[in-house]
Symmetry: C2
Subunit: 334 residues, 2 copies
Amino acid sequence: MNDNDVKKLVIIGSGPAGWTAAIYAARASLDPVVYVGVPKQDPGPILPGGQLMLTTDVENYPGFPDGVAGPEMMAGFQQQAERFGTQIVGEDVERVEFSRDGSPHTLHISDGTSVRAHAVIIATGATANWLGLESELRLATAGGGVSACAVCDGALPMFRDQPMAVVGGGDTAMEEANYLTKFASTVYIIHRRDAFRASKTMQERLLAKDNAEVLWNKTVVDVLSRTDDMGAEKIRAVLLEDTVTGEQSELEVGGLFIAIGHTPATRFLRESGLEFDDAGYIELGSRSSRTNIAGVYAAGDVADATYRQAVTAAGMGCQAALDAEHDLGARGLA
Amino acid sequence: MNDNDVKKLVIIGSGPAGWTAAIYAARASLDPVVYVGVPKQDPGPILPGGQLMLTTDVENYPGFPDGVAGPEMMAGFQQQAERFGTQIVGEDVERVEFSRDGSPHTLHISDGTSVRAHAVIIATGATANWLGLESELRLATAGGGVSACAVCDGALPMFRDQPMAVVGGGDTAMEEANYLTKFASTVYIIHRRDAFRASKTMQERLLAKDNAEVLWNKTVVDVLSRTDDMGAEKIRAVLLEDTVTGEQSELEVGGLFIAIGHTPATRFLRESGLEFDDAGYIELGSRSSRTNIAGVYAAGDVADATYRQAVTAAGMGCQAALDAEHDLGARGLA
């Protein structure tokens, strides 16, 4: 492999962060190569294009006043990146060797090849943790009223004045449940233990709401559905099991939100030398996309446990491309 | 004024950051009120909708594969914010009294009234500094080949293989000129003194380029134009004056980029108690939108001297709305 084979910039991931990085990098003549990944099941579906490929209606990405389907939006992002000359590869990056001496980084690809690059942007996202029920994943994929993001989906008309359930017991679950109290008739918080992990403030804030109710010592063992007027499958109820008595019961709901955390997609980076925070997200320098390794940048949900929105991920992707361009330029490589 | 008059959230500014904050806040039932500002000249045009109102083709905001006109894009953002129940006021906020004891903040409005709010998001943006020539501002407004942002506009087809000029001598001017060397036949850097303020690295990086040439001790005293095939006015040349000899000369160019800095729109915040960085931008906590004053958030170019893109501003607007919602919720106010 000679130096002509070294790419200026490789982008790993194809959600809003990855494509936005590609748009900016391609316009800056960095000839970016995007590894979009291959579809898998883990246990929920993971698709090139990221979490939005599983989102029916995106109403909060600015620029689409009437909303847009997630897959359609991601197709537009990709098209825009391709228009400016992005190269796209339908493979996974399976392992990385990041250099510490300014020489190119090496990435090992799922087709058995490897590629070298002066700069690498990691935009592999995160995946919501799911209960792992077949009915849950089926309804989540089909827009049937099961979701892992209340801020994304909670305000949709289908959930207005319906009873809704949230599964979880941490701060995020409290926040999601609290958000839903604005729209739901009642919000049931389903928790497998008899106490929350969430902070006291978050709990008090939620339990002060008239339409929030906690169901302790319960797990969801099945999601029950009906067929609506349009012939689509929608959630009707959840089947609960008491973790103490083992008793089962049905709870009628119009929506189910799983809030048991997210897992950033960083498994392939385990031996990379990158720094991670306690929750496993990539640690970034203050207000930049730079990681602890020169020439390695991160953008989107893989480095953001707080906001996790399409538009924040896109903004971070732009930052990563501009940071990479700046650094490559300073080294005379762009 | 009783407590019912206190707004949950006021957003000041109507660029990508302001509207995105409004979209998220409205969906979270924070009933946001957006003060969009009134048009003014200072010396370049300042319009509700921000700098994009002066941008003909936006090619790098993800989601528009074929590009979009700046004003059209901003109209879509506004429409989306209105759809979810944002209240819009066509006035400026002229002065603020931020409270430090948890009581509502007070904003003084250009119509002589005042408004109180538990949370305030500042998204007033920044304006490019211009030379102040009538011909320069006219061509900048009409898409005639004069711009204050190379990253935004430099890759447009109209500039390909043309000689281009950059005015300035700081790091940004070097960076913009360097960016343009990828597209231009020659990039002339026009500087009024005989040395740059820019860092040595940045200068060296630029001057290593074959197609970069510095014109020392020169100022642009007029922008000369022609009429193209479509009847539109386009730049043809700049009229230079030597700052030592006073001699005038014409330089033929297909584009002119003014890179003499930006000024964040913070004049109305002078006595607010907010913390600013050395360049006058609002100082934010690491990776959040929170300022040093509780309940006051900033988003977009008013708090970002580095990236300054529509998509980064939009991302920050989303963060500000989510931060405000989180904090209001924790105080039992949302």
